[in-house]
Symmetry: C2
């Protein structure tokens, strides 16, 4: 029985195949973790959000991580963590493209997300340019 570090390729594969992750950031000096839908284009992780605690936190301290796991059973699982700095997408065209891509990548968005993609002015899209990506798992 061993738990091995994933290779860079394996870690990227987990991140690319996933759609649901847990975003970690620091909010008023405390760790804060929330589930988010995302997509990863091989360079950036795109996430959308309504204004709220995580956006307030990320604007104050932009260092963030996304943890993604693929747990098939107790003996076959992988978990990766990707780091990047918060970058809010202000450009209207990129904002639209990212939302469309999220919608394609995550076919079953939650209702709030579906509503968000209909162009609410409140929808925030941000990305993390991945500068560190590691993972562990029992490979299969």
């Amino acid at each position: 029985m061993t738990i091995d570090k994933l290779t860079a390729e394996e870690a990227a594969e987990v991140l690319k195949q996933g759609a649901l992750g847990r975003l970690g950031c620091i909010a008023e000096g405390e760790p804060y973790v929330v589930p988010v839908h995302y997509f990863y284009d091989g360079e950036n992780i795109y996430i959308h959000s309504l204004p709220g605690k995580k956006i307030t936190a990320l604007r104050a301290n932009g260092r963030a991580c996304l943890q993604v796991d693929d747990i098939r059973d107790s003996y076959h699982w992988r978990s990766v963590i990707a780091y990047g700095n918060y970058e809010e997408i202000g450009d209207e065209r990129l904002h639209e493209l990212a939302l469309a891509e999220l919608f394609r990548h995550v076919p079953h968005l939650t209702p709030v997300e579906s509503k968000m993609t209909k162009g609410s002015v409140e929808t925030i899209v941000f990305r993390l340019r991945v500068d560190q990506l590691t993972g562990v798992g029992e490979t299969w």
Copy 2:
């Protein structure tokens, strides 16, 4: 379509029923998130671990959170976040009891966990006494 705050009772229920959560802490100034098995006795969250990055981080900065979600489908989900301070279980009897309880609560421990419960001296058990617990969801 609305996303509501959970009541204290609902949030506690999600935490009690879950077995897999994502632990958030701060490691060298950065957020850090890892999947963990746990059990919650209504007051404390118990978690076990081998020595490593999260233990090093938690010994340096004991503020931690555990995020747990119960996602049945896009329209029926809950997510909670519990906060507490890291407390390592040094007492041998309590250490043993907590491991036994974890083993009962989480029938399908990963191999490393099963090995850990067999009494490796390296197994660390810690708890977070929950001092804050909130949640959101579409209740059902």
